[in-house]
């Protein structure tokens, strides 16, 4: 099991490190660098531990962590030769970059953020290369896009960095989405997302009709990530990142993810014409375009960026050739490019750091002032140009050899390959010379922002290590990099691994001649272009119009602004009426569609005999409802009274059909709602019915709404009637009826269901009630009535003190009586109709009557209700009852009951459910009173704030 541990550590450790680093104080620079370095080193060690002996012998280390096994989704970590090469690059160059960044980053920069992002990015890259499952691979792929976005945009204050980061994210993450689609297709073809199974089904994939769509989608992901034409434009703009980030992202990691993916899927997806044509043309254009544009860059990092694009194109061309030898060259060149490009970026960063500029036009003669850095950069640039005895030479020679052997194929692109390779090599020599000659030679000038000098020794160390690598591999390839390359190649090609020779000298052959021609041609080209370059003209000759960025911006503006706005204008509405109308129509349509296939006629059930009383009640109730709908616009009070009439009909129905609990609750709620709405009416604007109002348009609108409402009503009738005349299947009611007394200890089954069987639901419900009451309270604290409704209403002006004398006295006298009934309702609730809801509402009405009878101030002088205390006590009591059950080892809200003998008072059922019900009671009472008082208080407040009209907008209490 140690392998699983090593692998999960290799991914988890960087993330953990990122988390810890992010929490460290901003001034703990050294600590953070040490931590990040240690994390990188440990990650490298983990890969190393796995490498020997399994992978060195051609094996695969695999670890599986079950995640959603039902869906075939497991966290699969898989390390083989190819993955290990990339993992070593990610962790190794990561380590060097951390060391370099320690000296590069200025003390003004927020260091924790930098290292946290860097480590998180490292973790994502490790996850990407170690994924043994395609979905997981895409997940980490998108994570690398995300963290590279954060890294590129690290200097948030710079608009350039923000734009570059946004562009990189948009391009690479959209590519990632395409990749996800492609991977889903692959998974569909293979029947599994497991990498081992996918790698074993190459023939199935290539023969499948979905092969081409899958290929295009997967390659869209790879080409965007690896900055291949036409998606290359994001990479130069990503140079706004700090140089350590560029050195890391654009040499060994981010852009190589695309290469990794192509190499990973090479055995199963390559070998077709489509593969060659897509990759070959994209790679060739990128190779030439990047190299050509690189020559004319004045910014050192810009030059390196375009050279990176070009080298990635080179690797893509190699991968496209469908030849095992080309695959060897591709992996080899990936490693070489990582070493020399990382060192070159770091050297450019050192120059920038020590001189204050990266502009080749301003830099000059640094060979004299920074001799060590100059030598290192020269060697690295020579490797980039492909000078013999350096690693770049060997892989480039392999590239030329491959293009030559591929050129025998009949197509035009094949035969153009060697020419393109030669041309690109010439360009590469030219831009490498420009990099070196422009910066290090020429007269020493004082034109630079800082006086140049050598960097601290430790800052140079990473460059030294990498350049040393370039030289050793260049001189002794077989002895140094050979075994690792072999393992990597074998893990991809398996049995098909060809014989290849890693040597500096292969005899005097055509590739060597071409290399020499390239060196000479490049030097000549540079000489010829020197006048143009020294003139310092911006832009690339011949390609000035090709601006990917402008195109990208235009597309972005269209998509995110014009298109979105148009769509919103065409399809959206901000009007509630339209939204509700749509909702109603969609609901009707959904109901019709759902029910249409079924028999919609009458059911088989015998109809119950119609009772004339209920018929009359509902005749009145329906008329009330219709009248309320008719009057609600101009006669609010009338509508409210009519609404009460309809409610009363509902209430009578409940009583009639054996639901006393419902009837009680409905009646009480009816009272409270009516009073609430009455209190609210006071603040509404006056509305007078205008004779003959209604233009044709609004009349038509009303007809349409009437038709919709008629449809909804008819539909409801039909559905209800159809349901009522059918036998309902045996539900769970039997369970409740049979156990209400024996297990719940109460005879009122509805109450037992509420406080016992479904106690948790009730608990949730009273919590909602609590939240609503608090929201009402909070909203009313900020209440600002409209100016015209602040004045004292006409009805209350003058001497109104005694005009309700008789009812007021009656109501005051009724208070204790109603209170007793409320408590009675609460206590008997378990056995007879009543319960906490009804009791709480009843007590709230008692208080309400006092407010109506005596006025707010009179009540509050005599009786102070603290609704918040009632509510919190109720909630605590209900919750506490539930928790108490847990203290006895029972599940939450399990109830217990017994009967307490109170002598002549009778037996009182004492169930723990009663305590729960008391909690409900207290909460319902508190919440209701809180809402009522909060609304009632508005009148008092405004009168105090503005005693006589014309009033000013009223202020807080």
């Amino acid at each position: 099991m140690p392998d699983a541990l090593y692998l999960s550590t290799a991914i988890g450790l960087p993330y953990l490190g990122a988390l810890v680093t992010a929490l460290l104080p901003a001034n703990a620079r050294r600590l953070e660098s040490w931590l990040a370095g240690a994390v990188a080193l440990l990650t490298l060690t983990m890969v190393w531990l796995c490498y020997y002996p399994t992978i060195a012998e051609g094996g695969v280390v695999r670890a599986e962590i079950a995640w959603v096994p039902q869906l075939g989704l497991n966290l699969v970590l898989r390390l083989d030769g190819l993955a290990s090469v990339f993992a070593v690059m990610v962790a190794g160059i990561g380590l060097l970059v951390v060391l370099y960044a320690r000296y590069y980053m200025s003390s003004d920069d927020p260091i924790p953020r930098f290292f946290a992002f860097l480590l998180a990015f490292m973790g994502s890259m490790m996850g990407l290369v170690l994924s043994g499952n395609l979905i997981q691979l895409v997940f980490f792929w998108e994570l690398t896009s995300l963290f590279s976005f954060l890294l590129i945009g690290y200097w948030q204050h710079s608009a350039q960095a923000r734009d570059g980061a946004r562009m990189a994210l948009t391009v690479t993450a959209s590519g990632g989405l395409a990749l996800l689609a492609g991977v889903l297709l692959l998974g569909h073809i293979v029947g599994s997302y497991d990498l081992d199974r996918v790698l074993a089904s190459g023939d199935v994939i290539r023969a499948h009709p979905l092969y081409l769509p899958a290929l295009v989608l997967v390659l869209l992901g790879a080409l965007t990530k690896s900055a291949q034409f036409p998606f290359h434009f994001w990479l130069p703009h990503a140079m706004a990142a700090p140089t350590p980030v560029s050195a890391y992202l654009h040499s060994a990691t981010l852009v190589k993810a695309g290469i990794f993916l192509m190499a990973r899927l090479w055995p199963v997806m390559a070998g077709t014409d489509a593969w060659f044509w897509i990759l070959g043309s994209a790679g060739m254009i990128t190779l030439l375009l990047g190299a050509y544009v690189a020559i004319f860059q004045h910014d050192m990092k810009g030059l390196l960026a375009y050279s990176t694009i070009s080298h990635l194109g080179l690797i893509t061309v190699l991968l496209s050739l469908n030849s095992p030898l080309a695959m060897v060259a591709a992996i080899f060149h990936t490693m070489n490019h990582a070493t020399f490009k990382a060192s070159l970026f770091m050297a450019a960063g050192i120059i920038d750091h020590e001189t204050g500029t990266r502009d080749i036009r301003r830099l000059s003669g640094l060979n004299a002032t920074m001799p060590f850095t100059a030598r290192l950069a020269m060697v690295a640039a020579a490797a980039m140009a492909g000078v013999p005895l350096l690693n770049g030479f060997i892989s480039k020679e392999m590239f030329i050899t491959e293009t030559l052997s591929a050129s025998t194929a009949p197509t035009l692109l094949h035969s153009l390959l060697p020419l393109g390779a030669a041309l690109a090599s010439i360009f590469a020599v030219a831009y490498s010379l420009r990099f070196i000659h422009g910066a290090f030679f020429g007269p020493t000038t004082g034109d630079m922002p800082h006086t140049p000098h050598e960097p601290p020794q430790w800052m140079r160390l990473p460059v030294e290590v990498l350049v040393f690598g370039c030289m050793v591999v260049g001189i002794l390839p077989a002895a140094t990099i050979g075994p690792f390359l072999d393992v990597a190649v074998r893990s991809v090609l398996g049995e098909a691994t060809p014989y290849y020779s890693l040597a500096v000298w292969h005899g005097f052959n055509l590739p060597l001649v071409m290399s020499l021609i390239a060196l000479a041609g490049g030097a000549l080209l540079y000489r010829l272009l020197q006048r143009h370059l020294n003139a310092g003209i911006d832009g690339t000759p011949l390609l000035r119009r090709l601006d990917g960025r402008r195109l990208f911006d235009r597309v972005m503006v269209f998509l995110s602004w014009r298109f979105a706005r148009t769509l919103e204008r065409l399809l959206g509405t901000s009007r509630l009426q339209t939204q509700l109308r749509l909702m109603v129509c969609v609901t009707i349509l959904a109901a019709v569609l759902a029910l249409a296939p079924h028999d919609f006629g009458l059911g088989v059930l015998q109809l119950s005999p119609a009772d004339p009383v209920i018929g009359l009640v509902w005749l009145a109730g329906s008329l009330c409802a219709l009248a309320a709908a008719y009057q609600a616009k101009y006669h609010r009070l009338a509508a409210l009274v009519l609404l009460g009439g309809a409610g009363l009909a509902v209430c009578i129905t409940f009583v009639w059909f054996s639901a006393p609990d419902l009837a009680v609750t409905q009646l009480l709620v009816e009272v409270v709602t009516t009073v609430l709405l009455l209190l609210g009416l006071r603040w509404m604007p006056k509305r007078l019915e205008l004779a003959g109002s209604g233009r044709l348009l609004s009349r038509l609108r009303r007809y349409r709404d009437f038709a919709i409402a008629l449809g909804a009503g008819l539909g409801l009738t039909a559905i209800s009637y159809a349901t009522m005349t059918r036998v309902s299947p045996e539900g769970i009611s039997r369970f409740f009826l049979e156990r209400a007394y024996t297990e719940g200890g109460g005879t009122n089954v509805v109450n037992v269901i509420l406080v016992d069987f479904r106690g948790f639901d009730t608990f949730g419900e009273i919590t909602v009630l609590c939240i609503v009451a608090l929201t009402v309270f909070a909203l009313l604290r900020r209440f600002r009535p409209a100016p015209e409704s602040i004045g004292v209403p006409d009805q209350q002006q003058g001497d109104v003190r005694n005009w309700m004398m008789v009812p007021a006295v009656t109501m005051k006298l009724l208070f204790p009586l109603i209170g007793v009934v409320a408590v009675y309702l609460l206590l008997r609730g378990h056995d007879l109709p009543g319960g906490g809801f009804a009791g709480g509402l009843m007590l709230a009405i008692a208080i309400l009557l006092q407010y109506m009878a005596g006025g707010t101030r009179w009540v509050e002088d005599h009786l102070r209700v603290h609704p918040l205390r009632w509510m919190s006590a109720g909630l605590l009591l209900a919750g506490g009852t539930g928790l108490a059950a847990m203290a006895f080892g029972q599940p939450f809200l399990t109830s217990y009951f017994a009967y307490a003998d109170l002598g002549w008072l009778g037996k009182l059922p004492v169930a723990s459910a009663l305590i729960f019900d008391i909690g409900v009671f207290a909460l319902v009472f508190g919440a209701t009173v809180l809402m009522l008082i909060a609304i009632a208080h508005q009148s008092v407040r405004s009168q105090r704030a503005a005693p006589t009209p014309p009033p000013a907008p009223q202020e807080e209490r």
Partner: protein, 114 residues
């Protein structure tokens, strides 16, 4: 009996839907109340129409479903009534706040016509 109830549900629901699509906040609140009556009645009617058989048991016995009204729809409707009350209260306060902030009682807060 079924027809009476079904028609009543239809009338209540239709009136509610009509008010739902009106432009004034108060109409909306009345409409929602009517609609909730309709829905409550519909759920309640799933328990059929037993007369004189409330689900209150004789002490010490297990209830027989044939003898008592179905308690389950009743429990559901009881919950719905209380939640409906809370919603109405909340809408009322939102209506008041909107009235204060926008100066009118249109559901969209601005249009004064139609």
């Amino acid at each position: 009996m079924e027809l009476i109830l079904a028609l009543s549900i239809g009338v209540l629901g239709g009136s509610g839907v009509w008010l739902l699509m009106r432009p004034r906040t108060f109409q909306l609140i009345i409409g929602l109340s009517l609609l909730s009556y309709a829905v409550n009645l519909f759920i309640f009617s799933m328990g059929r129409f037993p007369v004189g058989r409330p689900p209150v048991l004789e002490p010490g016995t297990a209830g027989d479903p044939a003898q008592y009204a179905d308690p389950l729809p009743q429990a559901l409707v009881l919950t719905a009534i209380v939640i409906g009350f809370a919603t109405t209260a909340l809408f009322l306060v939102v209506m008041l706040a909107a009235r204060g902030l926008t100066g009118g009682d249109h559901v969209d807060g601005r249009r004064q016509d139609h």
